[in-house]
């Protein structure tokens, strides 16, 4: 534990400084004990208080030194934790924004947000606590023991023997507790989820007329949960009990042993007192490690989860998919799993993939990030888009989403993409948008091949409209300006008007400055699509990609939106993937996909005459429901 921290920048200095502090602290502990023992034994021997003034002052000094140095040490560790956390977050966010939607789709939105916000906090706590704790446990007991041993051999031996017993029991109890929790993990998860599950399903329960009766089940499950938890806690708390028990027992043994030898006269009061004061200090650092163990474990895991994402992405970017896969698997510890499952996966992962020291803060000189944005790709009226033998596999050995897709679009137009669910429509849109790289074949515009180096330039020519366009939590105007922050007010107005939003804007109390998105004014699905449309228009990009823009809307809204959209499609390159085949009459070319391959291409009329796949799609939608 703690070794993985060594890879971060500034870690070695921090370790060194903390070690120096710990050393100073340990010395202060010894001196504090010495001077206190001297004072007390002098008083015992009948010395006056005045005579002891000096020693008391020294004790005070040593005591304050101990805690003062402790505070400084915490400060050093905190600073390191903060900086390391920050650079880890920067790197993670860098990867996130470089890889974009693909990474988020893979990791899940909630997971990503939790990782960045809470994971960094946990990781910092881990870094902040671990270094002083490890140093403390490594240095202080050794020094204290040496001093005790030199003062009194027998006590030294008692302490020496107790420590391994203590640690052995700690581990044994810890293992037993983990076994116990692992056995119950499933029923735990179920019991603890039951309440949230019930609340989330409250409406459904109400519809089913079961909601009243269900409160009985909540009471029952809560009780079961309590009992199950207590069963586990009884074992889990045993580890700190073992710590307590052996520490206290050891201190008591030392005391009793000292007492007996004092009676024999084989030892003086001063060393006896000194040993007695130092005995608890000997165990203290180990007990602190025990107390913070779980908090730090959480943070360690968060750190590993983040590192594995960063490593996997880096490997993917440098074009080594296998390395990426290994890195991913090695670090595939689901972040945020129950702490009970943590221990099993602690000490793996770190050694796989690129060394940790390299990555931090290298974002700036990463060439793919700062590629030039020369207009490599020009989407003119008569540009030629050519796909030859294009294939796409999302996973190395998984099924292909697209296979051997070849077609040419010789000039600007509206291109429809249709096919059954899973035929590869969205994959094709992803490729055309430059969000994914084809795993076979090539995409060319005017003879220039789309490749890793110019993918960003490609993307800067396209706009993408999703089924659920995302509205940022900001003003309506900012949302429209998203692609063109510097657009003039008149342009914004024009775009808003063209997208058919003007009626809405008039009704809004703050007009264009109304807050929308999460926490703001709620817009209907149709209105949201119009905002996305205005955004795309203002962006002025030549290519418009649409993935199922209207299927979720009610039919009247769809009808109106279609009219607006068609009028705006005229001077753009449009790629529209949809199940809603009514769009196809307005397309210049239709690409029909079937199981990842291009089945046929042509206009609506041509394809209807062909009586192939497209004809089949149309006729199945013509049948009544029965």
């Amino acid at each position: 534990m703690g070794k993985d921290l060594l890879g971060y920048r500034g870690a070695k200095t921090t370790f060194l400084l903390v070690a120096v502090c710990t050393l100073a602290q340990s010395m202060a502990i010894l001196l504090q004990a010495k001077w206190l023992a001297e004072t007390v034994s002098a008083l015992f021997a009948g010395a006056s208080l005045q005579e002891q003034g000096g020693t008391i002052a020294l004790f005070l000094l040593a005591f304050l030194l101990r805690h003062g140095v402790g505070a400084i040490q915490q400060g050093i560790a905190q600073r390191f934790a903060e900086q390391t956390g920050t650079s880890l977050r920067k790197e993670l966010l860098g990867v996130l924004f470089r890889r974009g939607p693909a990474l988020i789709r893979k990791e899940g939105t909630g997971n990503v947000v939790t990782l960045v916000l809470e994971g960094i906090g946990k990781f910092r706590k881990y870094a902040e606590l671990t270094i002083p704790r490890m140093m403390g446990a490594g240095i202080t007991p050794a020094l204290v023991w040496l001093y005790v041993f030199m003062t009194d051999r027998i006590s030294g031996i008692i302490l020496l023997v107790t420590m391994p017993i203590l640690i052995a029991f700690l581990i044994l109890v810890g293992l037993a507790a983990r076994k116990q929790t692992e056995r119950q993990l499933d029923s735990y998860r179920m019991l603890s989820n039951h309440f949230v599950d019930s609340l989330r399903g409250l409406m459904t329960l109400k519809f089913l007329g079961q909601s009243r009766k269900h409160s009985g089940s909540i009471r029952q499950v809560s009780e079961d949960y309590r009992k199950a938890t207590m069963r586990t806690l009884r074992v889990a708390f045993l580890s700190s009990f073992a710590l307590d028990f052996f520490t206290m027992l050891s201190v008591a043994s030392v005391a009793v042993n000292l007492g007996l030898r004092l009676i024999n006269g084989s030892i003086e009061l001063l060393p006896a007192l000194l040993v007695l004061i130092l005995a608890p200090e000997y165990f203290l650092p180990v007990r602190m490690v025990g107390a913070d163990f779980h908090a730090t474990l959480d943070g360690k895991q968060a750190g590993e989860a983040m590192q594995s994402i960063i490593r996997a992405s880096r490997a993917e970017e440098t074009g080594k998919p296998e390395a990426a896969e290994t890195a991913r698997n090695a670090g595939a510890v689901g972040f945020g799993e129950a702490a009970v499952a943590h221990a099993a996966t602690t000490d793996r992962a770190v050694t796989v993939g690129t060394p940790l020291s390299a990555p931090i803060l290298k974002i700036k000189d990463n060439s793919t990030y700062r590629e030039s944005s020369r207009p490599v790709f020009r989407w003119d009226d008569c540009s030629m888009l050519e796909l030859s033998g294009v294939g796409l596999r999302h996973e190395e050995h998984g099924p292909a989403s697209l296979q051997d897709v070849s077609f040419r679009i010789p000039c600007k137009g509206r291109i429809g993409i249709v096919g059954e669910s899973g035929a590869g429509k969205s994959s094709l849109i992803d490729l055309l948008g430059g969000f994914a790289a084809p795993t076979a074949g090539e995409i060319k515009l005017n003879g220039v091949k789309l490749e890793e180096g110019n993918r960003k330039a490609w993307r800067s020519g396209v706009t993408y409209m999703l089924q659920h366009p995302y509205l940022f939590s900001s003003t309506l105007e900012d949302n429209v300006r998203f692609y063109a922050p510097d657009a003039s007010d008149a342009d914004v107005r024009a775009a808003v008007e063209a997208a058919g939003l003007i009626d809405l804007v008039r009704k809004l109390p703050n007009g264009l400055h109304e807050m929308i998105g999460a926490g703001g004014r709620a817009l209907s699905g149709g209105q949201a699509q119009r905002v996305a449309l205005a955004r795309a228009l203002l962006g002025g990009r030549q290519v418009l990609l649409l993935d199922e823009p209207t299927a979720h809307l009610d039919i009247e809204t769809e009808y109106e939106l279609k009219e607006t959209m068609l009028s705006l499609f005229r001077d753009k390159w449009v790629f529209l993937a949809t199940h809603r085949l009514h769009w196809m009459r307005d397309m210049d070319v239709i690409i029909v996909l079937h199981r990842g391959r291009v089945a046929e291409t042509g206009t609506h009329e041509e394809l209807m005459q062909l009586k192939g796949v497209y004809y089949g799609l149309i006729t199945s939608q013509m049948e009544g429901v029965g």
């Binding site: 004072t39 966010l93 947000v113 809470e118 609340l199 399903g201 269900h214 206290m248 960003k456 962006g539």
Partner: protein, 655 residues
């Protein structure tokens, strides 16, 4: 109405347990003190070289007893403490459920509600911390404080006064200063973290747009600036915590020196036995350890505020009428059964409905704490349907009292809360139904179509009796719909866009439709919902747990499970509330065909966004801004309205 607190009743109810915990806590500290005290006494006494070893027999035994006793007491204290917390947790859960249950249908409909309720349940989990980290340590410290001062007072009043002063610094002064100093910063930090959460969530959800725009660096720079701001505050808080720790230790040092001084003086004065000097000095350290954590405990108090406030807000309806309709007017079971036997003839006569300015309906303005109109919620749903779901804050037994990090998770909660209670749609107050009449005899099939905000959800809620009309009447077989109260579920069942599948087996999920259904009934219902192939493909068939199966279930399959439930429910009326949104055309058709064939002898009220399948309806209603703008059978509409023909063509692309 008087509002019960989320804190006091639980203390009262568990009074004896709390006392036990406090006693165990105090005893743990006392035993630790006594261990050092008797040790000091033992070696001092031994140093006097008593002739007989039996002279130190008692302290020898005492040392061992106190040593072992402390460990045992501490273990017991933690166990009893957690047991009590879990008991309180279970009562709070039950209470929250009982508060929410009657308002379930009135809370905004659909997805966001689930999110909102999730936040509340997390809030309750939070409140455990109040006890473990604040109440227990503070209480133990106070009891010890009183005890120690009283004991010292018998020994030397002057010393007692001094000690009282020192400990007061640790127990009262330092915590108070800490609270005052950090309150503002803590609040600032919490708000800043909420903003960060929203900002990042916003960016991640809108990643496509950032990615395409090429403006990523701009976001990152801005975001890091905000993070740096939070870090500055955090650093200041931590600096104070370190300083506070040091001040606390200084007080400990001064106390130790005072004890040395007093002991020396008393011994010199002959009023203290020589053997007690070391004993007293050594006992001071473990004693003071009990007072040091109070500052941190008190500093946490403001952190709980938000959770308590949210729970209070939702609890406003507590104790008031549960159905929103006078109790004496509700129906007897027999009357409900009569309605069911009659087939439930639904009739709306000249119904109008208006929401008041606050977004609640005039008839029940007291009952919906955070509920804009249902149609507003529907609009909110369609645009912001993807909310991130931070990892479940499952109870983690081993880490229960060490690994809880309320700050960051709390930010997530607040942000989710804000998202879930997003302000309503436009036209609030005009979102109403105007003069709607509708006659749905037993077995009839009616489709309702309209834009979001046209009043569809309001219409459904009126039929279910959740809302009462501002004018006109809604009756089911001649009885006011609102009078059915909770019994409405035996008359009307609902299949909506996102039916909840519970984390239990598939069979149990279906059984929810009728708890006394036999295995055979369930199998039949599943077969009618055409789930048989799916069930056969599952590892444990009907007894596969949803958690495992959930991932494999597609949207259409989930709807079929919900349909099987409704088939068991056997209510005469079924409301279909856009059950096919988000499904591809083929799945949509197949699901509709299963629904129509399995429900053919029941009354159907079907809100739909497409026109697929409307040919089979007895009547189609087009709502626009609360009014009916077109109605009739499919053939009539085709003949009469060019607009309808235009719309219909969208669903029949080949025509």
């Amino acid at each position: 109405m008087k509002q019960e607190s989320w804190f006091r009743p639980y203390v009262t109810a568990n009074f004896w347990r709390f006392l036990l915990i406090a006693m165990l806590g105090v005893l743990t500290v006392l035993f630790a003190c006594m261990l050092m005290f008797t040790s000091g006494y033992l070696i001092s006494k031994s140093a006097l070289r008593p002739e007989n070893i039996l002279m130190v027999y008692v302290p020898t035994v005492g040392v061992r007893t106190f040593g072992i006793g402390r460990a045992v007491l501490h273990y017991a204290e933690r166990l009893v403490g957690h047991d009590t917390i879990l008991r309180i947790l279970s009562r709070m859960r039950l209470r929250l459920y009982r508060i929410l249950e009657p308002q379930a249908l009135r809370l905004t409909s659909r997805y966001r509600t689930g999110d909102l309720l999730g936040v509340l349940s997390d809030d309750i989990e939070y409140l455990q911390d109040v006890y473990i980290r604040t109440v227990f340590p503070s209480f133990v410290a106070l009891v010890l404080y009183a005890g120690v001062i009283a004991a010292a007072g018998r020994f030397d009043p002057g010393f007692a006064l001094l000690l009282a002063l020192y400990v007061a610094v640790l127990v009262f002064v330092l915590p108070l200063i800490s609270l005052l100093l950090t309150k503002r910063k803590n609040r600032e930090m919490k708000q800043a973290r909420n903003r960060l959460y929203q900002k990042l969530t916003d960016a991640v959800l809108g990643m496509h747009e950032w990615y395409v725009s090429g403006r990523q660096q701009q976001f990152l720079t801005g975001y890091e600036e905000d993070e740096a701001e939070v870090d500055r505050t955090d650093r200041a808080l931590k600096r104070w915590a370190r300083l506070r720790g040091f001040i606390g230790q200084t007080v400990v040092a001064v106390t130790v020196v005072t004890v040395v001084y007093v002991a020396g003086k008393e011994y010199a004065g002959g009023s203290l036995d020589v053997t007690l000097i070391a004993a007293m000095v050594l006992a001071v350290f473990p004693l003071m350890d009990a007072f040091l954590p109070v500052s941190e405990a008190v500093e946490r108090i403001p952190l709980y505020g938000q959770s308590v406030q949210r729970l209070k807000a939702i609890g406003h309806g507590e104790g008031s009428a549960t159905t929103g309709y006078p109790e004496q007017l509700s129906l007897s079971r027999g009357e409900v059964d009569a309605v069911i036997r009659s087939g439930a003839h639904i009739k709306l006569e000249a119904v109008s409905f208006q929401y008041d300015a606050n977004g609640t309906d005039a008839a029940h303005s007291a009952h919906s704490p955070a509920a804009p109109s249902p149609d507003a919620a529907e609009a909110a749903y369609s645009t912001t349907a993807h909310s991130p779901d931070p990892a479940d804050a499952a109870y983690q037994p081993e880490a229960a009292d060490t690994a809880y990090q309320p700050e960051a998770t709390d930010a997530a909660h607040s942000a989710r809360w804000a998202g879930a209670t997003a302000s309503g749609c436009l036209d609030k107050g005009t979102h109403a139904l105007r003069d709607i009449s509708l006659d749905v005899p037993a077995g009839a099939k009616v489709a309702v179509i309209g834009r979001s905000g046209a009043g569809k959800s309001t219409l459904l809620q009126l039929i279910q009796g959740v809302l009462t009309p501002s004018s006109g009447t809604v009756t089911i077989s001649g009885t006011d719909a609102a009078r059915f109260g909770d019994d409405i579920s035996s008359v009307i069942s609902v299949l909506n866009q996102s039916p909840h599948l519970f984390d239990t087996t598939l069979a149990n999920n279906i059984r929810l439709g009728r708890p006394d259904a036999t295995e055979e009934d369930i199998r039949q219902a599943a077969a009618m919902a055409q789930l048989t192939t799916l069930v056969d493909s599952l590892p444990d068939g009907l007894h596969t747990r949803m958690q495992e199966a959930g991932q494999r279930f597609s949207g259409g399959e989930r709807q079929r499970v919900a349909l099987a439930r409704i088939l068991l429910q056997k209510s005469p009326v079924v409301i279909l509330d856009e059950p096919t949104v988000g499904l591809d055309p083929r799945t949509e058709r197949e699901l509709l065909s299963t629904i129509f064939s399995s429900l053919q002898d029941r009354t159907l009220i079907w809100v739909t966004h497409h026109l697929v399948g409307v040919e089979q309806m007895d009547e189609i209603l087009f709502l626009e801004q609360g009014k009916v703008v077109m109605r009739g059978t499919h053939d009539e509409l085709m003949e009469r309205y060019p607009r309808y023909r235009g719309l219909y063509r969208l669903d029949r692309p080949g025509a």
